[in-house]
Symmetry: C2
Subunit: 252 residues, 2 copies
């Protein structure tokens, strides 16, 4: 997996993604733009970047409506060597994909060794327990959360390519600590990873490498997690690490 | 010390402060409003709150200009049993107080057992290495920082009532993690404490008790702190705790 925290994608980041995908000449790339309301523009932007460093064919499959059953597209998706999920709204993406053959085709490609890549919303969908961005106790959307409360963070089903990891994006730039710590206390055995803009993690099994221009935060193992009055969360001594470009770490 | 993270002060919080100060009938309270550009309004607000729960005399000493040498005020300040430092701008407060007899009088009161209290800017000044809120690498003021970089956070000399602790305020509400983590990596042996609005820590020696309506964050002991390209900070496994009302913890 090649998971980008949103923001500007440098040519170096795209090169690293292509290198990670290890494409042969005959391999092709599939872009999935279902997270965005502007699939054509989103596709053109990433296509321009990809074609600057890879000579492979690049297809956009906007699996909207009946297209989720398009056998030709599904076979091509399952056979892709690099699948790129664009930004937008992660819930919009999953509404199209969940419980459809598209979901299965992405998993099939992954199992066969394809690199699944995504940015922003396309990063969030990698988790099984996907952060939607909505709060259950505060009804106004905010880029970050104002409080650290239990029963506040909303999850939906994501792609589940990572099953005990929760991904958050635009992380340092938007200061999403309250949100990711809320996620961790909901799933205290998980690794919770916040990826900043212009930055990516390369996931190979349990091994993570950071690449790009900023940092990645990992929080795990809070002790003595409790929920008090007014849903206030408390915990002690969670392990908090901050990694930069080139750093490697391991999932649990 | 009774250190409030700014925001609304509930009657319960004020009662707890008065209880902490343990005032006898003859004891008096001194308010220091030098952090604010509106000292009278700031004094009236806290006076109203204090006089609702304490029958003691309450004085406002605005030590501006030559007043820093006013012997009568200085003696009264040194003899106060509760000193309350209002919000505003912590640098403004320290510009008036640093290297003057006012600084010494506050320390004398503290040594003699007075409770030194403050909110917001009045919380920030408790530290020896005081966060000004300015950034050295980003020139625009922001309530939080956008990045986690070394050599970015500006410190000035604070009151130094806490000498290996750095205090940040409005913490969770304003999501000041990037700023406090920047402070910690500048002083990795310190306890760094972020206090949310409407919330306070009661400090007695090394012992801290949390009171109020929200939480307090403590970060300490980052391992393997490094600074890479573009000032990017990295570290591993710092200890991160989140405490709520009634919780107790110890400084190092």
């Amino acid at each position: 997996m090649f998971i980008i925290g949103g923001g500007d994608r440098s040519p170096e980041l795209i090169s690293k993604m292509i290198e990670t995908a290890d494409l042969s000449k005959r391999d092709y790339i599939v872009v999935l733009p279902m997270a965005t309301a502007e699939p054509e523009a989103s596709f053109e932007a990433i296509k321009t970047q990809l074609s600057a460093v890879a000579k492979n064919n690049i297809y956009s499959f906007n699996f909207a409506g009946d297209k989720v059953h398009d056998r030709g597209w599904l076979d091509s998706l399952a056979g892709a060597r690099l699948i790129f999920i664009t930004g937008g709204d992660q819930s919009r993406f999953m509404k199209v994909v969940l419980n459809t053959p598209v979901y299965d085709a992405i998993h099939k490609a992954y199992t066969n060794g394809a690199t699944i890549a995504g940015t922003s919303a396309g990063a969030a969908v990698m988790s099984k327990h996907m952060i939607t961005g909505n709060q259950l106790l505060d009804t106004n959307y905010k880029e970050t959360f104002n409080k650290l409360r239990a029963d506040n963070i909303e999850f939906e089903n994501g792609m589940g390519l990572l099953d005990s990891v929760i991904i958050d994006q635009h992380f340092i730039r938007r200061s999403r600590y309250n949100r990711l710590l809320s996620a961790l206390t909901a799933y205290p055995k998980f690794d919770c990873i916040g990826i900043d803009e212009g930055t990516a993690i390369i996931v190979k099994g349990k091994n993570i490498t950071v690449t790009g221009v900023s940092q990645v935060i990992r929080v795990a193992d809070p002790e003595n997690v409790k929920v008090g009055k007014d849903h206030l969360i408390t915990f002690e001594d969670l392990r908090f690490s901050l990694y930069g470009p080139g750093d490697k770490f391991s999932l649990k």
